[in-house]
């Protein structure tokens, strides 16, 4: 479980996060949604330790990040898998080397063991046999899948995904969503996904935290989001005619 308490972060005069608190549970796909500029990415980067909040704490199964020493932080980070918006694969390394990289750095395994693990996760993301390709030779969706493979290769306890569907076609986006959901359940990990893709939110958002102007404006599940009367959430989620109609038909059916 990840527990975020009263998170505050500013950049100069801009107060980005204003006392955000949230709890992200194990085995669930937790989603952080909100408009561009609402503070989602800063929130995620604070949880990852890439930004240091001025006030507030982040606790990973009872381990408060700000109270850990450098070695403990480094150990904690080996338990974190991260899927970046653009994949963030290392351009100069092949798919195999990219996935093997965390293993080489932190796991004391033989080359054969590492290779076995790499092939296992590549099969898990449905990309067997692409070991020797470079990231530039892969499509956007394939790069995301390789990035997921790299994120899970160390058997993480926590998986973070920043806009996993950005730049993908709807079909590939669904494949990525399903993969994230399956991996979360399979490994029983805490998954936190930053997204403003409403398809994803409706499909896999088992817990949703809505941020508005750096504050938590609402939280609930993908079921609750249909019936909420929170104006900010309704305006954000049902801004398109398609989703308005989906909501209307949901109400009609439930009556």
């Amino acid at each position: 479980m990840i527990e975020v308490t009263n998170l505050n972060k500013s950049f100069g005069d801009a107060h980005i996060l204003k006392g955000v608190s949230a709890v992200f549970e194990k085995g669930k796909v937790n989603m952080v949604i909100g408009q561009s500029g609402s503070g989602k990415t800063v929130f995620l980067k604070c949880m990852l330790g890439l930004h240091t909040p001025e006030i507030g704490d982040i606790s990973f199964d009872g381990r408060v990040y700000s109270q850990l020493n450098i070695d403990q932080k480094r150990l904690l980070r080996t338990e974190i898998g991260m899927l970046f918006q653009g994949g963030a694969l290392f351009d100069s390394l092949t798919v195999e080397e990219n996935i093997m990289f965390p293993l080489k750095m932190f796991a004391n395994q033989s080359k054969e063991e590492m290779l076995h693990r790499v092939n296992f996760v590549l099969e898990r993301v449905n990309l067997p046999g692409s070991n020797k390709k470079f990231p530039a030779q892969l499509s956007g969706g394939m790069q995301k899948r390789v990035a997921i493979a790299r994120a899970i290769v160390m058997n993480p306890k926590y998986l973070f995904c920043d806009e996993p569907n950005s730049g993908l076609d709807p079909q590939t986006a669904t494949v990525i969503d399903n993969l994230i959901q399956e991996i979360t359940a399979e490994y029983n990990i805490v998954t936190v996904v930053n997204s403003h893709d409403m398809n994803s939110v409706m499909e896999i958002g088992e817990k949703i935290v809505f941020l508005k102007d750096g504050e938590k404006a609402w939280e609930g599940s993908n079921k609750d989001i249909f019936i909420t009367d929170n104006e900010a959430v309704v305006n954000f989620v049902y801004s398109s005619n398609l989703f308005k109609k989906v909501r209307e038909s949901y109400f009609k059916e439930s009556k």
């Binding site: 980067k45 970046f84 290392f90 965390p102």
Partner: protein, 246 residues
């Protein structure tokens, strides 16, 4: 951000760079890759430029000492001194600042804007140490060899130019090369090279690592890296010359 802040941030970066590598095996692999990228791949351009510059120096000296009272061996002497004292360490370093400096700044800048550096940090890797230390060690180890090759090829280029133009004889040129040879000048050149190698690896790394924005900013950082590396090399060249030869 003012200059003092940049200087402070640069030294704070160096503090992270000089930490013990997290995995020696990975460090070794990266070091050899950097020696190839930053050193071996610069060999061709350095050989080409130094050979022709040596030739030009010899021809120009020959054309400017036409007086019968000035001995011809001074052509070889002047070419040798120019190549060892200035062209070898300083001019070669300026060329490398352009070639290697822009490569380091743009590759690290691209890693920054495509979140590859964030990916390293999230994995628990000291990204500065992992990315910059192998580059620094590679340049410190390899550039003295590059400079020695540049010196030798420059002197050789001078001899070839003399033979092709008939402006001086081989015997005179070789006498000039052997005249008043001071081994300290080689040491002086190598000391300068090591200092410049440090600058060539770290200043572009600073500009690339802390870039903010997109591809346009990466381009700007790359240009700034080359400019500042060149400026610092020129300034340090003056102070080192004053200290070592003055």
């Amino acid at each position: 951000m003012n200059y003092l802040e940049h200087i402070g941030k640069y030294f704070m970066m160096l503090r992270e760079v000089f930490k013990r590598p997290q995995k020696w095996k990975i460090f070794r692999e990266t070091l050899f890759r950097e020696i190839e990228d930053l050193g071996l791949k610069s060999l061709g351009i350095i050989m080409f430029i130094s050979f022709f510059i040596g030739g030009v120096v010899a021809i120009q000296t020959a054309l400017n000492v036409e007086s019968p009272f000035i001995p011809k061996y001074l052509i070889g002497f002047a070419t040798k001194r120019t190549m060892i004292l200035e062209f070898g360490p300083t001019f070669t370093s300026i060329i490398l600042a352009g070639k290697v400096g822009s490569y380091i700044a743009s590759s690290m800048g691209t890693m920054r804007v495509t979140e590859q550096i964030d990916a390293l940090e999230v994995m628990g890797i000291n990204s500065l140490n992992y990315l910059v230390l192998p580059k620094l060690i590679a340049t410190l180890l390899f550039y003295p060899f590059l400079v020695l090759i540049a010196m030798l090829l420059g002197i050789f280029g001078g001899w070839v130019a003399g033979n092709l133009t008939g402006l001086f004889h081989t015997v005179d040129y070789i006498n000039g090369i052997q005249l008043d040879f001071n081994p300290f000048f080689i040491k002086y050149a190598l000391v300068k090279t090591v200092v410049f190698a440090f600058v060539i690896a770290t200043i572009p790394a600073y500009h690339g690592y802390y870039v903010k924005g997109g591809s346009l900013e990466v381009g700007r950082a790359s240009t700034q890296a080359v400019v500042w590396t060149s400026v610092v090399i020129i300034l340090l060249n003056y102070f080192l010359t004053q200290m070592l030869l003055g």
